[in-house]
């Protein structure tokens, strides 16, 4: 199935334009109406906004608690023991395609060979395609030098806009011959048995399950506070939130890598949307809309956690922009979405996919108003926060934040990493960073929707010469 065919199937859902004409008209009409009312009854408008915001906050926190509770009440992750994984004879194993998109990462390509050779899968059944951009010459040379073995192939993606990872994967998918396909980044260290486990799981779960999302972890967790926060967040994400979504039968937004697909169904679905910067989350929602189900595979792929503040902000703002884009794309025709996903899907789409970045953005605004209140007690705020919503607001502020911190402490215990206790208790600082990233994402969503904010990898590698005098 050539890439263009995949391309055409997808235009209805593609994020090549942030707002369709209909949505744009709706938005402008709404804003105009709001402005009109605001002129007449400013206080009413403010009160309504505050009420809506507090209700959404309450709903988001309740939803998160529900997810964690649902995840705790039973085992919703697909567990394949080592013996079962190894029990399947090599002959019965299907051809498996591994796509490895890389861009400007010559230093990391070297490690790729070591990690891929660790995979316990017969070489003749394994097809690894390294996807590189034509203008990225140094990585191509590094790859040609490092990559040996006939199951390994370098595919230079033809030059075309948008130059993003999903487009490269689409091109790779068109060439894939395997029955199953997965994606790894160049610096990933997958669990050697992951492919075997995925095969056994997909066969056991039946055709309804088209995708399995393996857990992502980090190998440089203890590099600094940011990587610890990252590790804690990902553990909570893959061990309580995603299983919770599975338990509640809601669409599961996929992770960046280590998601295992059935190739045929993926092609029919139109694969990844090249214009969406979080193509994985978008694909998760589209899978659900087509009636397919996603499982969470209990197998860890280690990757590099972002250890630098500014680099982290870039990466996180890209994700939030993608989530907002996905949320807008799938609200283009609410009726159709409701018909396909049902109220559960809508709830997840609005509270989880759209809610995460919006909540992060609103956090900053609300913290500022709280600070302002304690600083100067302006009378106008008493009128804005009318009693019932004021109490919900205070409840969300106090108990909402306390609950999420408490859940973080719990996941520290379930991760069996008690040394991350301090990190869990310091989560509010991490939320502050998130709100900064979401502000940047909102800004870019309006001005540069499809711009791919490149994160520099290899920051975990020790610098060439140890710094002479280490500064505090």
């Amino acid at each position: 199935m050539p890439a263009e065919v995949i391309e055409r199937k997808l235009t209805a859902y593609s994020a090549h334009v942030v707002l369709t004409r209909l949505q744009r008209i709706g938005l402008f009409a709404g804003l105009a109406l709001l402005a009109g009312v605001a002129v007449l009854r400013p206080m009413l408008v403010l009160q309504v906004i505050v009420a809506l915001v507090t209700l959404c906050y309450g709903a988001a926190i309740a939803f998160r608690v529900a997810l964690v509770y649902a995840a705790g009440r039973g085992e919703h992750r697909v567990l394949i023991s080592d013996e079962d994984a190894r029990a399947v004879a090599d002959a019965e194993l299907p051809v498996y395609t591994v796509l490895v998109p890389a861009y400007r990462e010559p230093s990391v390509i070297g490690a790729l060979m070591a990690h891929l050779s660790a995979l316990e899968y017969p070489r003749d059944k394994l097809e690894v395609i390294l996807l590189l951009e034509p203008d990225d010459t140094e990585t191509i040379e590094a790859a040609r030098a490092a990559l040996t073995g006939e199951h390994l192939r370098i595919l230079v993606v033809p030059e075309s806009m948008p130059k993003t990872k999903p487009k490269a994967c689409n091109v790779g998918l068109a060439e894939a011959t395997g029955e199953f396909v997965t994606i790894y980044d160049a610096e990933d260290i997958p669990d050697p048995l992951q492919l075997r486990r995925a095969v056994v799981a997909l066969r056991r779960l039946g055709p309804e399950y088209v995708c399995l999302q393996a857990e992502l972890g980090y190998f440089n967790t203890d590099q600094n506070r940011i990587t610890r926060w990252f590790a804690l967040e990902y553990a909570t994400w893959f061990r309580s939130l995603l299983p919770g979504l599975v338990a509640l039968g809601m669409p599961v937004p996929l992770g960046g890598t280590s998601n295992h697909f059935r190739t045929r169904e993926l092609r029919e679905l139109g694969a990844w949307d090249p214009y969406n910067v979080t193509e994985d989350a978008d694909l998760g929602i589209r899978l659900a809309r087509s009636g397919f189900r996603v499982g969470v595979l209990e197998s860890v792929t280690l990757e590099e956690a972002n250890s630098d503040f500014i680099n982290w902000i870039k990466q996180r703002s890209r994700w939030y922009k993608g989530y907002l884009m996905t949320w807008l794309v799938h609200l283009r025709s609410p009726r159709a979405t409701f018909k396909q996903l049902g109220w559960r899907g809508l709830l997840c789409l609005n509270l989880f996919v759209g809610g995460t970045p919006l909540a992060a953005l609103l956090n900053a605004v609300l913290w500022a108003t709280t600070l302002l209140w304690f600083l100067a007690q302006p009378a106008v705020m008493e009128q804005i926060f009318i009693p019932p919503f004021y109490y919900i607001g205070v409840f969300c502020l106090v108990f909402g934040n306390a609950t999420v911190i408490y859940l973080n402490v719990l996941s520290v215990r379930s991760m069996d990493r008690p040394d991350l206790l301090g990190t869990a208790l310091l989560s509010p600082l991490y939320w502050a960073m998130m709100s900064l990233a979401s502000a940047k994402a909102a800004w870019q969503l309006v001005f540069k929707p499809s711009y791919w904010e490149k994160t520099t990898h290899g920051l975990h590698l020790p610098t060439t010469a140890p710094a002479a005098s280490d500064d505090i």
Binding site: I310, I313, L375, T456, A465, D470
Partner: protein
């Protein structure tokens, strides 16, 4: 100067008629028997290199015929320029200039005809010239290995060296690399010399050339000055006097209408200073004697000053440019008057709110408006962009390039935004109030920051202007919120956080988040001072604060190692010593009105601490830089916004401030001479 081994140069083979590689100019006067041997030795010295010898003969004896004889023997290599008596203007120097104008080779060597200058050194001059790409090479008698056994008696030697030193005294900058400016034996690039500008007078043509033609790169080669073989020396006392007059004239003429930007600006400043005096005198006369209201008096005084300034500047400082003088005066008057309202406004503000006397305020206003006047005058009246040296765009380029300038700009903007802080510290100076100990950590923090702007190797070179923008907007908004909500304009508990927020916002915008984050330790120091605020009662906290600042700075610069603590201990001892004997030093200058200033100890401590920190930053091992230049974001738009915000914030609190009058508190009186500590 590099020692040149006298190896032979592999110059292009000599081809008759080919343009000579070097021209040797030899001014001669009655030295017939020296000319032959000189020519032979020169041609031997240069070997197979094409050389052309030009004799400029002012002699009245048989020297020209001797030279012509040599010329026939070596056609094309020896030329004669004979100058009859009335053409001998400029003496020896004039002859050399004539020779140089006639020279055909790129390089010209000048030597005397009396064989006191050894021709063998000539190729060395050329080699040195090429090796160091110099424009001129001087053969120096006073270089280490140079000797002057050629100069006769002791008296002659001291006169010669003295005149050399005198010249260096007059032109310290221009002749800094030259040890023997009076030397007659030198080589110079033909294209570096502009004969038209030279005023040759006597035997000091090298000095004339170096100064008037502004020859920058000068190399030197030592040589031994041979004793005179024939002919008599012309040095004598009247010659010395004539030399001194020549030096003075040269100096004065160089000062008139300077070429370089700095020279021009200095000239403008001198003229301005004179103008200020004229302005003050006029103001005093009109204000005190004539009793006019000070604003009207100031206006008239400014007009007087403008006329005076024009007279001085037009004649002495600025090049005439294209317009006629009358026209230039009209523009000068008009443009300077456009700045007068700003001048008067500042005067009014300083008098009414600053509490200064109008005469003093007037001087301050003139100084403040000076820069604007210079830019306006140089770029619009004299048509040259701000003197070609330091235009506004040049200033902006300076800002863009260096991190240190930006840090200082950040501090200035913060001061502009928070005049209340200035008011509090100004009042504090006189009454030693709470804010004074702030000076020490602030000085230390600034010094620390200036030293740590370069990123170290471990840091990834990743920057994001949007993050900078968002963070700084946050900081600026919280700064203005704190300021607007502050109950009283000079409440320190609200002002300090607000100013720190503004400082952080400006630093992030000007230096980028990563650099600003690296300077976060400098914020630790003002916090140290806040701990001191409580103990402001006597001197001890100031010293304690200083020592604490030193310890923190040492830790930050050298890392937590014993070396840091050792250095901090030594520095603390120095600080304590300074604190102990500041009162005595102040006591010595008891007449000065600032001797009894209560905050003198704090100010001096601040300076000492800042100096120590800068010294440490300099001495710290500079780590190899990860990338080429440290990242400095574009600052044009940013500077404009920051200034606007600063002005808005400043205006918010300025009207309600009270400034302490500048004289000492009444109680200090004589008692303060002994121990200022006693009177608090």
């Amino acid at each position: 100067m590099a020692e040149i081994s006298p190896t032979r140069l592999e110059a292009p083979a000599r081809v008759a008629g080919a343009p000579p590689a070097v021209t040797v100019v030899v001014p001669t006067r009655n030295e017939a028997d020296n000319v032959g041997p000189l020519a032979d030795r020169v041609r031997a010295a240069f070997g197979d290199q094409p050389v052309e010898i030009v004799f400029v003969d002012d002699s009245d004896d048989a020297t020209p015929s001797a030279i012509e004889a040599i010329a026939e023997r070596h056609p094309g290599e020896v030329r004669l320029i004979h100058r009859v008596s009335q053409e001998r203007a400029g003496g020896l120097g004039g002859a050399v200039v004539a020779g140089i104008s006639a020279a055909r080779a790129p390089w010209v060597v000048v030597m005397d005809g009396d064989l006191q200058h050894p021709p063998e050194t000539a190729p060395l001059l050329l080699a040195a010239g090429r090796a160091e790409t110099a424009q001129a090479v001087v053969a120096s008698r006073y270089r280490e290995s140079g000797r002057v056994d050629g100069l006769g008696g002791w008296f002659r030697r001291t006169v010669s060296r003295g005149s050399g030193r005198l010249a260096k005294l007059f032109f310290p900058l221009r002749l800094r690399g030259v040890t023997d400016p009076m030397s007659g034996f030198f080589a110079v690039r033909r294209d570096a010399v502009r004969p038209a500008e030279l005023r040759p007078d006597g035997y000091k043509i090298l000095l004339e050339m170096l100064v008037r033609n502004r020859i920058e790169r000068v190399a030197e080669v030592p040589y031994t000055f041979r004793s005179r073989t024939a002919g008599e020396s012309k040095a004598s006392l009247p010659e010395g006097l004539r030399y001194f007059r020549h030096l003075a004239g040269l100096r004065l003429s160089m000062m008139r209408r300077p070429q370089s930007a700095y020279g021009r600006m200095a000239g403008f400043a001198l003229a301005g200073a004179a103008g200020t005096a004229v302005n003050s005198v006029a103001l005093w006369a009109l204000g005190e004697l004539a009793g006019l209201p000070y604003l009207l008096a100031a206006f008239l005084a400014v007009q007087v000053a403008i006329v005076w300034n024009f007279a001085v500047i037009d004649h002495l400082v600025m090049p005439p440019g294209v317009h006629a003088r009358r026209h230039r005066f009209g523009r000068f008057l008009l443009l300077n008057n456009s700045l007068t309202p700003l001048h008067l406004g500042l005067l009014f503000a300083l008098v009414r709110w600053g509490g200064l006397h109008y005469l003093g305020a007037n001087v301050v206003a003139i100084i403040v408006v000076f820069a604007l006047r210079y830019i306006v005058t140089s770029s619009w009246v004299y048509g040259t962009p701000a003197g070609g040296g330091l235009p506004a765009t040049e200033l902006m380029r300076l800002v863009r390039r260096t991190g240190q300038v930006r840090v200082i700009l950040t501090l200035l903007l913060t001061a502009l935004a928070f005049p209340a802080l200035l008011a509090v510290s100004w009042n504090g100076l006189w009454t030693r109030s709470g804010a004074v100990p702030l000076i020490i950590p602030l000085a230390a923090a600034t010094a620390l920051v200036l030293g740590r702007l370069r990123p170290d190797r471990g840091e990834p070179d990743v920057h994001d202007r949007q993050v900078d923008g968002l963070l700084s907007v946050g900081c600026l908004v919280s700064a203005s919120a704190l300021l607007l909500l502050a109950p009283a304009p000079d409440r320190l508990t609200w002002l300090l956080p607000a100013s720190l927020f503004y400082l952080a916002g400006a630093a992030i915008l000007l230096l980028g988040t990563r650099t600003a984050a690296r300077l976060r330790w400098a914020l630790l120091l003002p916090l140290v001072s806040i701990a001191d605020l409580g103990l402001a009662a006597n001197d001890a906290p100031a010293v304690l604060g200083a020592v604490a600042c030193l310890i923190v700075s040492a830790l930050v610069i050298f890392g937590a190692r014993w070396g840091a603590f050792a250095r901090a201990a030594v520095a603390s001892l120095a600080v304590v010593a300074v604190a102990a004997n500041v009162p005595f030093v102040a006591g010595m200058f008891s007449s000065g009105r600032y001797a009894g200033l209560p905050a003198l100890t704090d100010v001096s401590l601040a300076l000492v601490v800042a100096a120590i920190v800068v010294f440490w930053s300099r001495s710290r091992p500079v780590r190899a830089l990860a990338a080429g230049r440290p990242f400095l974001p574009r600052a044009r738009f940013v500077l404009a916004t920051l200034t606007v915000v600063a002005v808005l914030l400043g205006l918010r609190t300025l009207p309600e401030l009270t400034w302490q009058p500048a004289e000492l508190p009444a109680t200090s009186g004589a008692s303060s001479q002994g121990s200022p500590r006693g009177d608090r």
